[in-house]
């Protein structure tokens, strides 16, 4: 058994050594084949799908705890052909499968922004799952800053004190025109990896695991999230309000606490 593990480690080391110098050309790191097996078993995934998805992430994560990323779909969502799930995977994070953005043709031009934790140098990938079941992927290599900032919060007490506060930030839109909106919820998003010195135990994980956005009771966007999402989860998106109504965001966390906010348009 040990021999086998050593062989596997040896192979992965070998892979790393051969892959490292040509990173730009070969985004696949050792973790990915395993992650692919776990989350997309037996599926064909088309790589370098730059015609469909643009993933914008900084080359170097300035603050490992707060790395802003933007995912843009380059083809309009139509009833016949649309991306129904956008899977976000951060290979070298403690929990690599980071989020699933459920989409529909309700939003035609998709551009989503959020903020994630990046634990160490890693490939970050977005896999678009179409309504016909086909899968398309883009990936990007992100260097985590090795400096002072750890993927821990800066002021745990302040974060906890405002837990559950929510904001919907947007300009008053013109009907029929696209508008950008940001839903943000104050939440420490405890990963379960943080240690409470006073009580000498790990702080139980406690994080936002669902964000739903509706306009006039129609779902625009729904997100399943995990511990890779930064403290105070933020979700930015575009949509086109065609009639007056209410934009509503609902958040559920891993302790089944619910928070919501709405905005009259």
């Amino acid at each position: 058994m040990l021999g086998r593990i050593l062989t596997i480690i040896g192979i992965s080391l070998g892979l790393m050594l051969t892959v490292q110098p040509v990173y730009a050309a070969t985004p696949d790191e050792p973790m990915w084949p395993i992650l692919k097996e776990i989350h997309f078993e037996g599926k064909d995934i088309r790589e370098n799908a730059d015609d469909l998805i643009a993933l914008d992430a900084p080359k170097r994560a300035e603050d490992a705890a707060i790395v802003p990323i933007t995912i843009k779909l380059l083809q309009p969502q139509t009833v016949d052909k649309y991306v129904k799930n956008l899977h976000l995977v951060i290979d070298n994070n403690p929990e690599p499968y980071s989020a699933n953005f459920h989409l529909s043709p309700e939003i035609t031009d998709v551009e989503i922004g959020t903020r994630v934790r990046v634990d160490q140098y890693t490939d970050m990938r977005v896999i678009a799952e179409m309504n016909d079941g086909s899968m398309h992927m883009v990936s990007k290599y992100v260097k985590a800053s090795g400096g002072c900032s750890a993927p821990a919060g800066k002021d745990a007490e302040a974060a906890l004190a405002r837990l559950g506060k929510m904001q919907i930030r947007m300009r008053q839109p013109t009907l029929g025109e696209p508008v950008q909106a940001q839903v943000i919820v104050s939440h420490p998003n405890y990963s379960g990896l943080q240690y409470d010195q006073k009580n000498r135990k790990y702080i139980n994980s406690h994080y936002v695991n669902k964000i739903d956005v509706e306009y006039n009771d129609k779902t625009l966007l729904s997100v399943d999230a995990g511990i890779s999402i930064s403290e105070d989860p933020s979700l930015r998106f575009n949509f086109v309000p065609t009639e007056k109504g209410v934009l509503k965001a609902r958040v559920v966390d891993s302790k089944a606490m619910e928070f919501s906010a709405d905005k009259q348009i």
């Binding site: 802003p68 090795g146 002072c148 750890a150 002021d155 007490e157 940001q182 943000i184 240690y195 930064s230």
Partner: protein, 307 residues
């Protein structure tokens, strides 16, 4: 010509990086107060992580180390340099905050069984970051890291409740602060010589690193600035002896960042927009601006979003 430039470049880098066993100079700030000035670089194997100001205060019975170095190796250098000054034992190792350039040398003093002293929130801050630090610094510091241990403070200081340490004929007063540069900053004051060790509440020359609260930091700086000191040893940059310590320069940076981030937020700008536009007028005022400025803007942005 090109060759000449290359050689000049190489030799200046070599000079800036040189910290060998025989080359760990201490500066004497006042009677019994010494520190080693860190260089304005990122921590590396070549500079053994000696990028922050670290030092000690000597009393009749005890020495207090104030920040232990950016690696086990730097801690050893500091310990050795101390022994060239005095034989008085080390009773206290004070950590002004959790950042690796200030605490990774702790283990170099354990043979003297000192008390480790810090802000009441320091142990939690260390626990939250320890794994991350271990992974990153084992790699970037190489050999200099070997022997490093994470030692949390056992003697804790709370805000509004200064702690006095008796070094024998000399008293140190430790003050803990509400969230500012971090959520667990500590200063050390020596009344005898009117010397203040600010930890990273004060940066000179090197760009500050915001890891707490920009509002809290500005408030704390204004309070500290209103007091009189004969000498100030900042967390980074030269000591200010009998002259102004550039509090205003740091305040100007932080208030500029705060005002411009607030403008971005009020204008519904994104975090990405803020990091590319805010505070650029401060560029020429700080060393390592490119490496840390955008991170400061990020930290300020996610704080000020909730104002």
């Amino acid at each position: 010509m090109r060759y000449f430039l290359l050689i000049t470049l190489l030799s200046s880098t070599a000079l800036a990086c040189a910290v060998s066993d025989n080359d760990y100079p201490l500066q004497k700030v006042a009677d019994g107060i010494y520190f080693h000035q860190g260089i304005h670089e990122d921590a590396s194997e070549e500079n053994i992580g000696a990028i922050a100001n670290v030092g000690f205060v000597v009393g009749n019975k005890c020495v207090a180390i104030i920040d232990s170095g950016g690696s086990y190796r730097e801690g050893q250098h500091l310990h050795k340099a101390l022994r060239e000054v005095t034989d008085v034992p080390v009773c206290y190792v004070i950590n002004t905050h959790v950042h690796p350039d200030h605490i990774l040398g702790n283990a170099a003093f354990t043979d003297e069984n000192p008390a480790f002293v810090g802000h009441e929130k320091l142990p939690a801050a260390l626990a939250a970051r320890e794994e991350h630090f271990a992974r990153n610094f084992a790699e970037s510091l190489g050999d200099a890291y070997t022997g490093t241990q994470f030692i949390a403070a056992d003697t804790l200081v709370s805000p509004e409740k200064p702690l006095s340490l008796d070094l024998g004929g000399r008293e140190l007063i430790l003050n803990a602060y509400p969230t500012a540069h971090t959520d667990h900053d500590l200063t050390v004051f020596d009344p005898q010589t009117q010397t203040l060790w600010t930890g990273d509440l004060l940066f000179r020359e090197r760009i500050p690193a915001l890891d707490g609260s920009i509002n809290g930091w500005i408030d704390t700086l204004k309070k500290l600035q209103s007091n009189d000191y004969k000498a100030i040893i900042p967390g980074h940059g030269p000591a200010a002896i009998g002259k102004d310590a550039d509090w205003d320069k740091l305040l100007a940076y932080l208030t500029t960042v705060r005002e411009e981030v607030r403008m971005q937020i009020n204008d519904l700008g994104t975090l990405e927009q803020a990091t590319t536009t805010v505070g650029l007028s401060e560029r020429q005022n700080w060393e390592l601006f490119e490496q840390y400025h955008r991170r400061n803007v990020t930290a300020a942005f996610v704080e000020l979003e909730w104002e």
